[in-house]
Symmetry: C2
Subunit: 423 residues, 2 copies
């Protein structure tokens, strides 16, 4: 049974065709069976933890030999607690409402036809990811719950860990009644397999790359299937003239330092000139205390000469680190223009008590999530009550913001009549 999940000599196309066939059946599987399968996966992961840890030890040994960085080694490492965390994640997804079959819209037409627009699975989703082996299970649970077959393609550094995780998960899923072939790991870490996968038009319904810019470029150069890229985030916090300055400081510190390596962390602070002299000394001190390196424009450096000068490239950069660009602006309009010019359309925040400024900011900025008086760090499927997410999208088509269970679905119109013909 594990043959389709473990790395074998089966070609990518064969795996994908099997996934396509499985997807047709999976689309009609009821929620109870899907949920039971996710719980079975969780139980099997905990029960078979020693197998997982043994495989992970192989990857860790290979990683040490090839000189992986400490950060990558940490991402790669599994232990009992992390396995429990992965299993609990699958159980949490089992507990979420099933998106499949939701009636999104509907009504009776002039001629008596009854129309329902219902949510249906996309079909086959390919998830391409880097170091972290937990993505194997997180992504599988989200795809299976939303009725989609999943093709996983992890990085070569996690080959053994991913293989055993996928094998355990597929055995548990098939044992619980999901169709064979609905969860498969693509063997081989080469670019050829990635290209083959990315060009399976009509078989792979969606590809989701989870990784850095290198992976994104590699895929966009060859992809013929629909792709949603997990987003880069050059996020801004704008402190308006009418801001509560204590709140503003809490928000900018949180947005910058609470987890600087993620896409919804702030990279630039904009401050209205009317409050810059009051706000910046305290806020910049608080940021420095947290280890933040500051780069400011001339007006910021007039207030605090210890701030390094920012260059034009700083406004466009996603540092993903404890670095913050800081600029003084003369109006909320100027802040909006700056954000629309340099932002990546991810998450943007204004701190203000002025309704007009808040409204203009939310109307005028073209981004997935626009906050008033809150940290940008809330852009997250879990925080938004979607239960879990497979990434964040800054695309405008199909999914914008957190990609949760609903975003992994399409819709279909079901139309019921009693003989209607068009006149």
């Amino acid at each position: 049974m594990a043959a389709t999940a473990a790395p074998t000599s089966t070609s990518v196309t064969d795996l994908a065709l099997a996934a396509k066939a499985a997807a047709r059946r999976l689309a009609t599987v009821d929620s109870t069976t899907k949920n039971a399968a996710l719980v079975a996966i969780a139980d099997a992961l905990e029960a078979r933890a020693p197998e997982i840890l043994a495989a992970n030890a192989q990857d860790l040994a290979a990683g040490r030999e090839s000189g992986l960085s400490d950060a990558l080694m940490d991402r790669l490492r599994l232990d009992e607690a992390r396995i429990r965390g992965i299993a609990d994640g699958a159980r949490a997804i089992a507990a979420l409402p099933d998106p499949v079959g939701e009636v999104v819209d509907g009504g009776r037409l002039y001629n008596g036809l009854e129309v329902r627009k219902v949510r249906v699975p996309l079909g086959v989703i390919a998830v391409v990811y880097e170091a972290r082996p937990n993505v194997t299970i997180d992504a599988a649970a989200l795809c299976l719950k939303s009725g989609n077959a999943i093709l996983l393609r992890g990085s070569s550094s996690a080959t053994h860990s991913n293989a055993v995780l996928a094998r355990i998960a597929s055995e548990a899923a098939y044992g619980a009644g999901l169709p064979e072939g609905c969860l498969a790991l693509v063997a081989g870490g080469g670019r050829e397999e990635l290209t083959e996968l990315a060009q399976l038009e009509g078989i792979v319904d969606l590809m989701i790359p989870r990784g850095g810019e290198g992976l994104k470029k590699a895929i966009s150069a060859v992809a013929r299937v629909p792709v949603i890229y997990a987003a880069a985030g050059n996020c801004h916090v704008y402190v308006d003239a009418a801001a509560d300055l204590a709140m503003a400081e809490r928000i900018v510190v949180n947005a910058k330092v609470q987890r600087p390596g993620v896409c919804n962390a702030a990279e630039t602070l904009l401050v209205h000139s009317a409050v810059a002299a009051d706000f910046l000394p305290g806020a910049l001190a608080a940021l420095r205390e947290q280890g933040v390196e500051l780069r400011g424009d001339e007006r910021v450096r007039e207030i605090d000469p210890a701030v390094a000068p920012a260059s034009e490239s700083d406004w466009g950069e996603e540092y993903l680190a404890l670095v913050l660009a800081v600029r003084v602006v003369d109006s909320y309009e100027e802040a909006i223009d700056h954000v629309n010019r340099y932002g990546t359309g991810h998450s943007e925040a204004i701190v203000t008590n002025d309704r007009t400024a808040a409204r203009a900011f939310q109307l005028g900025i073209d981004a997935a999530c626009i906050y008033v008086n809150a940290s940008t760090r809330f852009t997250d499927g879990g925080e938004f009550g979607m239960g879990a997410e497979i990434g964040n999208s800054t695309q405008k088509l199909h999914a914008r913001g957190p990609i949760g269970l609903r975003e992994l679905c399409s819709t279909r119109y079901l139309v019921d009549g009693d003989g209607q013909v068009r006149g």
Copy 2:
């Protein structure tokens, strides 16, 4: 004022950048102003009909000289009644609800943050179309109403007609308060302009080609912007063992002959073997009476030897003409398999009084619209109560089925707090 709309030497990229700037402002224009602009366009078209007819006469003369077919000449031709029809179409779109600002979802999070998922315009939409000049106004009205700037690129055969229509429309729109640059016609019928337009990543938010397979191929070869292709439709009507046979005959005749040249017309008839001998003689006679050429499998030809033999390629063909492929199947499962194998995922119908068969068909078929006891011909934005459409999509991402005002939009999360930071 007409400079941006009429064919000039302005480059495609310049027009698109102007459209992008206009789109930012258009996104915040209220419904009243947008509706007034559409009515002003309609009024101006009627008032300036002589200019339109003069330009159209130039295109018709050129068409005659270059030997355009009668069908293409008819598509190209405008007259007073057609202009009135185009104007009424714009007025009808003005009367539809504004999709922009609709709250699609929302709620209060655990920490008091209030989240609204609201519909927003996509930004800049490029519509590429062939012969019919009416598309200039239909597409413009849909895009402007949904708050999007529009770049139009028509065919060279309609150069003069499209230019005057776009000029009149943009003058009326700007006069009514819409931002200049929000409606522009790309001059030049060459492939270079099309390629330039299709590669304006980050400027053009969506391209919609309306035309045949040649146009589709030309665009898919070069496009880097998101594209939604108007769909091909290889649609089926399946007459189940439990069908009301009189109803089935009405439905299949309507689906085939009411307008054979469109994507939601039926191309294949599937009949359950239990009713084939009862159903086919009458139904095939009725189809022949309407001029339909029939191509059947062996079992059909046993019942009616006058039916021409179908070859494998018939099952996959979109005739767009008075031709119908006919096949006998032994179960609804076999019908479902046939449709999933050969269909294009557009519109599929089952005629049956058996709830189990109907349910299996609607659950088991992967298509945009699945009908029980009704003609496939209803797949249409107007029929579905969406008011109007810019085409039909068989893609699974973003828009599936008729592409109406809502489908020309994206969404944004607006999040309101009072100082929330992430713990």
